[in-house]
């Protein structure tokens, strides 16, 4: 709870009905997915609750956010901003904190059709934004987290890989003008948004160096360096006809498949051939989706219940599956892309099981377009999270996946994570194959203490393997403990990160639990 005088000041900013410091509200906001094993990795009780914040606030505007941040500085209370709030990165690392739930900031500020970008506030979900941009024949980049996740959060603060990345890139690379409340309370407007005369959203860089460089890297700062209140993000051509009609009822709708869309699922039979195939397909610049995933995941994206997924396990395990979806606006474009795929399949000796062994439900195509693939596979045990997350060449990703197999199998044999044959992986192409990332979705039972511990141990060992094996940097290298461990082997980047934190957040007000603290408030390493 907040002290009365402090509560009053916050109430004056957001209104009495938009702040709650009661036991019920603050406890509810302390809960999140995956916090149990994050707690375990930090030597805390592996429960799904983080430290309980003092209060939860619902600001409605950038100005309110600014005032809240100023008050936090005044009273030395940390803040943690969240929007749709999926994941432990939304949780405060101390009980001397307030949560800013940005739900009331939910405007699509503009869709600029001629300049091919949209400007959104934090609580606009990917599906909402896509539904609006489709009206103009345009599409957005949607992260793999799903269409219910915040577009702004993905672009400014989290990660950003997506199924459609061959055509829509990575969230961090789609950022244009950005409005950013710094931890000190100033409002920073990046790029052309900072012009005094006729500011606009079309550029996020300059003048001179780009401050996007301190805003985020491969992953974002997760509220560790202020609050992003608006962002402009690039728009892309919608890949096919925008008519999006579903009939029938949940969960297996009947989707009117657009004219020019087609899926290919091919077994490359080895990592080596998979690498070759990925690169060749992407060189031709025809794919809307180009992903490698484990055979388990392939079956998951074609099933809609856990039971039907398990049915498909008997389908036969593919060794190195490759999913390619092509889509086109016109028949001539579609004919060309199909012809290219035909040639490629001949060149690479690949067979498409779609149309031969298997025909997906029409809903599969809707979920490709809405980036909502395979969710049932992820909740087979109740909980899941991805280890790995490195991004560079296809070869690196596949090597990381290959090395991960025996490690994962070790934990599978212990019975603490689910058996996906050890190959559980998702790898996707970016920008027509210029780089790839790979992550290893891992399924655990969040209600089983041994499974939670096992998941935590697996993540740690996986990280360590990547570090010592020169296999790139996984997604979740964050927080003092991990930065202190990784930094010395990566050009001491953590020292620069710390300087940035110290400079821009001198009072240490923006929660650094999933970023870095200025003074190395590192958490004790577990024995």
């Amino acid at each position: 709870m907040l002290e009365k005088e402090i509560l009053k000041e916050f109430q004056e900013v957001v209104g009495v009905e938009n702040i709650d410091d009661g036991e019920v509200m603050t406890n509810a906001y302390a809960y999140n997915w995956c916090i149990e094993f994050v707690n375990y990795m930090e030597d805390k009780d592996p429960i799904p609750f983080s430290p309980i914040p003092k209060a939860v606030l619902l600001p409605a505007s950038t100005e309110e956010v600014q005032k809240i941040v100023q008050l936090c500085n005044k009273y030395s209370i940390q803040f943690k901003a969240q929007s749709t709030g999926l994941g432990p990165w939304n949780q405060p690392s101390t009980d001397n904190s307030v949560i800013l739930d940005l739900r009331r900031m939910n405007k699509i500020v503009k869709i600029d059709v001629k300049n091919l970008y949209a400007v959104v506030e934090p609580y606009v979900s990917g599906a909402q934004l896509q539904a609006e941009t489709m009206k103009y024949g345009l599409n957005i980049h949607m992260p793999g987290a799903g269409p219910m996740a915040s577009t702004l959060a993905s672009h400014t603060s989290m990660a950003g890989p997506g199924f459609t990345s061959p055509q829509t890139g990575y969230s961090a690379r789609n950022v244009l003008g950005t409005e950013w409340v710094l931890p000190t309370g100033e409002i920073l407007r990046l790029g052309s948004l900072g012009l005094k005369n006729e500011h606009d959203w079309y550029s996020g860089d300059g003048p001179g160096p780009s401050l996007r460089g301190i805003m985020r890297g491969w992953v974002g700062t997760k509220s560790g360096l202020g609050v992003f209140t608006r962002v402009a993000t690039k728009l892309f051509p919608y890949p096919c006809d925008t008519e999006f009609v579903l009939k029938g009822h949940s969960p297996i709708y009947n989707f009117k498949i657009p004219n020019f869309i087609r899926a290919y699922v091919m077994d490359c039979k080895s990592f080596k051939h998979l690498e070759k195939s990925l690169l060749r397909v992407e060189e031709e610049e025809i794919s809307f989706i180009c992903s490698h995933m484990s055979s388990y995941a392939i079956m998951a994206i074609f099933s809609y219940t856990l039971e039907s997924l398990m049915d498909k396990m008997a389908f036969g395990s593919m060794k190195s599956p490759l999913l390619v979806v092509i889509a086109a606006r016109t028949k001539r474009e579609f004919d060309y892309k199909q012809k290219v795929m035909s040639h490629l399949m001949e060149e690479l000796n690949l067979i498409n099981i779609i149309g031969t062994k298997y025909e997906p439900e029409s809903l599969f195509y809707a979920e490709c377009l809405r980036t909502n693939l395979g969710y049932h596979g992820f909740i087979a045990t109740g909980g899941f999270q991805s280890a790995k997350g490195q991004c560079d060449s296809a070869a690196l990703c596949l090597r990381a996946e290959m090395k991960n197999v025996p490690l994962k199998q070790k934990f599978i044999e212990k019975g603490v994570i689910a058996n996906d044959f050890g190959e559980g992986a998702w790898m996707t192409s970016y920008e027509s194959g210029h780089f790839f990332h790979m992550e290893a979705p891992t399924f655990f039972d969040q209600t089983d203490i041994e499974s939670v511990k096992g998941m935590g141990d697996y993540m740690e060992e996986s990280n360590q393997m990547d570090l010592l094996g020169h296999l790139g940097v996984p997604f979740f290298i964050e927080g003092d403990k991990l930065h202190n461990h990784w930094g010395p082997r990566l050009m001491n980047y953590h020292k620069w990160l710390r300087k940035i934190k110290k400079t821009f957040d001198p009072n240490g007000i923006s929660d650094s639990g999933f970023y870095i603290s200025a003074n190395d408030g590192g958490i004790k390493k577990r024995d």
Binding site: Y170, G194, D205, L211, G213, V473, M491
Partner: protein, 489 residues
């Protein structure tokens, strides 16, 4: 900053070797001026390091002895923006031209690793032999540094390959102003570059390491935050077929509308608009030929290229043409081909090959360029502003960038350099026009020269403050290229 003179030259010589340090007056004179209107000071010496260790040692020395470093990639003969001129006493020129190795070319991952001294003239033909191409700016000079061009965020001619404003720059090795060596992106590790490459890594992800992206801070910094000693750059595969389309109109809106549709659906490769003067300068070599061609071209010229590769190249071009014809029919615009024959070969030549001397110097021997970013709607406004000044001697180049989310607009002011009066007039005009553009919302994201001060004065104070904080982190003693951007105000 007060320089400590003790053993200054000896230290530099010890680091680089005597052959790589010069105080020759002619050399010093060359680096104290360029083709801009900025007045530079004479440097103390020129230093040519051979590797990143030497660069590191020099930067550390600068911090210790308190002198300034102006990084320069290649020769400054054609430099136009004043950014590499010493603005303070006690400056040295750090000439990186002898670090000129093409470190690796990776066809599989479509990436090249180069040192700063590698020029377009050097690299383009090597890549072509391997079936690869750089993402080029518009007809770069052969002697220009490939790496420096990428560091300047110079726009490339293929907007659909411009996935991020930073492209084609990927990873870098950089010496910050503190003297610390750093590698950005996935090049940071874990492992040495060799160890990374052994694991299949190709240094193609520029983001990171982890939660920041320092490559973005170095880019656009005009050498004032770090000295880059190598970088990886994106490559594309060289098409086997390139079909050139050239349309003209005296109404720029028709061309803008068409190029928007091509952009929206990512239908073509190279895509840009030039006025008749700039197109003529690109195509012809001397003033007479240029003037003659200008007279035979409509004011506005849209050029786009459809390309294909391999056995299905023709199929690809055929479907693209079909889609584009449909778009043109829907738009209902009637565009003419040029009256005078301009061969595809001529156009492809300036698109695919660097030029020996800056093409902008062909018309009158000298030029000044004003360039900024704009939204689609404001392009005609900015053109009208320029027209109000003087239509005749301006070249205009309009380049959609960053997946079509903004436009690089460039006005090239041509003049004869010999006349002092003309130079004075041009200088006034540049300032005047620049100020007008800034006041009307032109975004000078790459501020150089005379109007840099105005650019920052009309930008938000929070941005300036943040940039200065970044400078304080990466170059706390301001040893790198002081006087550029906003860091010294």
């Amino acid at each position: 900053m007060i320089m400590n003179n003790d053993n200054f030259l000896q230290n530099l010589t010890k680091i680089c070797g005597s052959k790589n340090v010069s105080q020759d007056p002619e050399d010093l004179k060359e680096y104290s001026k360029d083709l801009s209107f900025i007045k530079g000071k004479s440097p103390l010496c020129i230093v040519w390091p051979s590797n990143s260790q030497q660069v590191t040692n020099i930067v550390k020395l600068a911090n210790e002895l308190k002198f300034y470093i102006i990084p320069v990639s290649l020769d400054s003969k054609f430099k136009h923006h004043g950014d590499s001129l010493p603005k303070k006493d006690n400056s040295i020129i750090l000439n990186l031209s002898r670090m000129n190795k093409v470190l690796s070319i990776d066809r599989k991952n479509r990436v090249v690793m180069v040192e700063p001294g590698v020029s377009f003239g050097q690299l383009v033909p090597i890549l072509k032999k391997k079936g690869l191409r750089l993402l080029l700016p518009l007809n770069p000079t052969a002697s220009r540094s490939v790496l420096a061009t990428a560091l300047e965020r110079e726009p490339i001619t293929i907007p659909r390959y411009h996935w991020d404003s930073s492209d084609p720059l990927l990873c870098t090795e950089v010496v910050f102003g503190t003297g610390d060596l750093f590698r950005t992106g996935t090049a940071a590790g874990p492992g040495t570059i060799k160890q990374q490459q052994k694991m299949g890594q190709a240094q193609v992800n520029p983001m990171g390491p982890t939660q920041f992206s320092p490559f973005r801070i170095i880019q656009g910094a005009q050498g004032s935050l770090g000295v880059v000693t190598w970088a990886t750059l994106k490559l594309e595969l060289f098409p086997s077929t390139q079909k050139v389309y050239h349309f003209q109109s005296d109404n720029i809106q028709d061309l803008l509308d068409l190029q928007y549709e091509l952009l929206k659906y990512r239908l073509c490769d190279e895509l840009f608009i030039l006025n008749n003067l700039n197109l003529a300068c690109l195509l012809k070599q001397n003033p007479q030929e240029i003037s003659e061609l200008v007279g035979n071209l409509e004011r506005w010229n849209l050029i786009y290229i459809l390309s294909g590769r391999g056995p299905l190249a023709k199929d690809k071009i055929s479907y693209l043409e079909g889609d584009i014809d449909e778009i043109k029919a829907e738009l209902g615009i009637n565009l003419s081909a040029p009256k005078v024959k301009i061969s595809a070969k001529e156009i492809l030549h300036f698109l695919n090959e660097p030029c020996n001397k800056p093409w902008r110097m062909r018309f009158k021997g000298a030029y000044q360029d004003i360039f900024f970013l704009s939204s689609f709607e404001k392009i005609p406004t900015f053109i009208s502003l320029m027209d109000a000044n003087n239509k005749k001697d301006f070249g205009i180049y309009i380049q959609p960038i960053n997946q079509g989310t903004s436009y690089h607009i460039e006005f090239d002011l041509y003049y004869e350099p010999e006349s002092d009066n003309v130079v004075k007039t041009i200088k006034e005009k540049i300032l005047n026009v620049g100020n007008q553009l800034i006041e009307n919302g032109a975004f000078f994201s790459r501020p150089y020269g005379l109007w840099a001060k105005v650019v920052f004065s009309l930008h938000s104070v929070e941005t300036i403050a943040a940039l200065k904080k970044v400078k304080k982190i990466f170059d706390p003693n301001n040893v790198l290229n002081p006087g550029v951007l906003c860091f010294d105000d």
